[in-house]
């Protein structure tokens, strides 16, 4: 394979090729590293590429295979990891200057499970600083570019993972989803992303943004790959006290059941409040076609109302900043990370620990992080607590009740994943409210802890860019999102005659690389 041609095989196909002895993990891993070397100057999906570590792990995988002792179904298939998960010996920055150069002394459980499954780790992917954002523009290390159109955002916060997968730099990746950070990037890059049930995948070693909302999950090009990866990383972890002590449902089996496209007897609820005003026409058109396809495949479609979803965004932007302001208090310049010592010439005494904290957090945090910490500090202040944070916690209960009522009428709920397709880099970076609206449809699932998948629904007519469809299920019924997701995927692939990503313009033509873009931070 020439270095410029992408290896477009899914992880499942790569695993099959490895099993059949047609290729080696070293060969696959090297092909993806070559692809990163060729296209990542333009895409900027990675903050750190660990070629040496990935090739070493790939060689070890090949040795295991030769000895007939593979670790699992994905042994030897390389993966990329969002830079919010601790990786022993590999820098972990969370897209922030405050953690620049920090090398964790331990692995997150998700990462430990990838290693235990024999998956070589290609590197760490770009993200909005501390996962705060919907465009990856809030990364302190410059934005990631959408492989469909390099002038546009890849979504966020996990734009790096989604872009890496869409640009064939990695067969699949790990993301995290606090308000849509796996699903929305999936929608705008034409890839698949799953937010598991809260507590279904360990948060140990996942740097907390909002600990009651954060959840790690798979970012892939197919629903089957997502299930395969989910089964590697998921399940109870004694190191995370919020981890659910129950076995995962059979996810790969659910995909295989759904793959024939038959949805007879499945009740699909279209959420009235997640659509209409504020949604791009082309996004809605593709969504409606997906619903029509599912109807033709035997599903019973009902409209459901979740009246409190209209308050979900406001609820989220009180709960998230409140939790974030508390979680990010740990970045205090004392035990790890950046330490900035302020100029003490005025006082004539050495700066105190508090002076150092203030100066470090000023220098180390970007605008969006500061906005949210201050908003959270406000929401938790005495005098405002009941009116804001306390009220948000109550509305969170009402959102969950809406879900419960809706799941009485439907097995799964569906909506467009994001209200629009990818917007232009720079367009919303200094308009926080406009940015927040990207997560309108994804946030309710985080507030209530339910699982959701986003898959491509087609290209919007206005701009020819990918749109996504979201499928939600009750907590611990992750298998349902996989079954219905797989069914819809096979119906759509049949319509398109291939994957949506096959229609993406090539990043590299005839081996000639386009000029590298300026990747300076936008602010």
């Amino acid at each position: 394979m020439s270095p410029t041609s992408a290896d477009k095989r899914t992880a499942a196909e790569l695993a099959a090729a490895l099993g059949a002895g047609e290729t080696s993990s070293v060969e696959i891993t090297r092909a993806h590293l070559d692809r990163i070397a060729v296209v990542d100057g333009e895409v900027h999906a990675f903050l750190e590429v660990d070629a040496e570590g990935a090739l070493r792990d790939a060689a070890a995988s090949d040795e295991r295979r030769a000895a007939g002792a593979t670790y699992g179904p994905l042994d030897g298939v390389p993966v990329a990891v969002k830079d919010v998960l601790a990786t022993r010996g590999l820098p972990t920055t969370c897209g922030s200057r405050i953690l620049e150069g920090w090398v964790p002394p331990y692995d997150a459980t998700v990462v430990a499970r990838l290693r235990a499954g024999g998956l070589p780790i290609l590197g760490k992917t770009n993200m909005d600083e501390f996962a705060m954002g919907s465009s990856t523009e809030h990364s302190a290390y410059g934005p990631t570019h959408n492989p469909w159109d390099l002038d546009r955002i890849p979504g966020g916060s996990g734009g790096g993972s989604a872009a890496a997968v869409a640009a064939y730099e990695a067969p699949f990746a790990i993301g995290t989803d606090t308000g849509g950070s796996i699903r929305q990037p999936g929608a705008v890059t034409g890839t698949v992303g799953v937010k598991p049930t809260y507590g279904g995948v360990s948060r140990y070693g996942l740097v907390s943004l909002a600990n009651s909302l954060d959840q790690a999950g798979p970012v892939t090009r197919s629903v089957l790959d997502a299930a395969l990866l989910h089964e590697v990383i998921g399940g109870h972890d004694p190191l995370d006290s919020t981890s659910i002590a129950q076995p995962l449902p059979a996810l790969v089996d659910a995909v295989r059941r759904g793959a024939d496209g038959d949805l007879t007897g499945v009740r699909i609820g279209v959420v009235k409040e997640l659509g209409g005003e504020g949604y791009q026409a082309g996004v809605l058109a593709r969504f409606e076609e997906s619903v029509e396809l599912m109807t033709k495949a035997g599903a019973e479609v009902v409209e459901v109302s979740c009246p409190h979803f209209v308050h979900a965004l406001a609820t989220y932007y009180l709960i998230l900043p409140a939790e974030a302001s508390s979680n990010l208090a740990r970045f205090d310049a004392m035990r790890y990370g950046l330490r900035v010592t302020p100029d003490d010439s005025e006082k004539g005494v050495p700066p105190s620990a508090e002076d150092v904290m203030r100066a470090t957090r000023e220098a180390g945090f970007g605008d969006e992080v500061k906005r949210r910490i201050i908003l959270g500090t406000y929401a938790l202040s005495s005098g405002y607590y009941d009116a804001y944070y306390g009220q948000a916690q109550k509305v969170r209960t009402l959102v969950t009740r809406d879900f419960e009522a809706a799941f009485e009428q439907a097995d799964v709920l569906v909506s467009p994943t994001a209200p629009t397709t990818a917007f232009t880099i720079g367009e919303k970076v200094d308009d926080p409210l406009a940015m927040y609206l990207n997560d309108l449809a994804t946030i309710p699932a985080n507030l209530s802890g339910v699982p959701g998948i986003s898959g491509p629904s087609g290209l919007a007519d206005e701009d020819g860019l990918p749109a996504g469809v979201q499928i939600l299920a009750p907590a611990m019924a992750d298998d349902r999102v996989y079954r219905v997701g797989a069914a819809l995927e096979s119906l759509l692939v049949q319509e398109w005659g291939g994957r949506l990503l096959d229609q993406a313009p090539p990043l590299v033509e005839e081996g000639v690389q386009r000029s590298s873009r300026n990747q300076g931070a936008p602010s």
Binding site: S212, S241, T341, E362, L375, Y378, V395, T397, Y436
Partner: protein, 104 residues
């Protein structure tokens, strides 16, 4: 509802909140952040009055119970590993700037 104008955060309030959050904001940042935060606050203030007093709050979606484990020795980080990211180290400890004021 005509009461929306009260949901504003003044520049002074932002400075106070930044102080509580231990962030030294510059004057330019205070000028920039105060109006932005007011816009956000105005938008999210809409949830006031949505839930009545009878609605219990949700702090977490899972029924959280305390998790115990047996008190047994298990491998952990070595001192060197734990200190590996420290800005400053002295005698196998985190070295920090002074934590007391002059008069203390």
């Amino acid at each position: 509802m005509a009461e929306s104008t009260e949901h504003t955060i003044t520049r002074e309030e932002v400075a106070h909140l930044a102080d509580l959050a231990r962030i030294d904001l510059s004057d330019a940042e205070l000028d920039h952040l105060a109006p932005q935060l007011s816009v956000i606050l105005e938008s999210i203030a809409s949830i006031q009055g949505v839930a009545g007093d009878d609605v219990p709050p949700t702090s977490h979606t899972l029924p959280l119970t305390n998790v115990y484990r047996d008190d047994v020795v298990r491998p952990g980080l070595t001192a060197e590993e734990a200190l590996s990211g420290a800005p400053e180290v002295e005698q196998q400890r985190f070295k920090v700037p002074r934590i007391l004021g002059e008069e203390q």
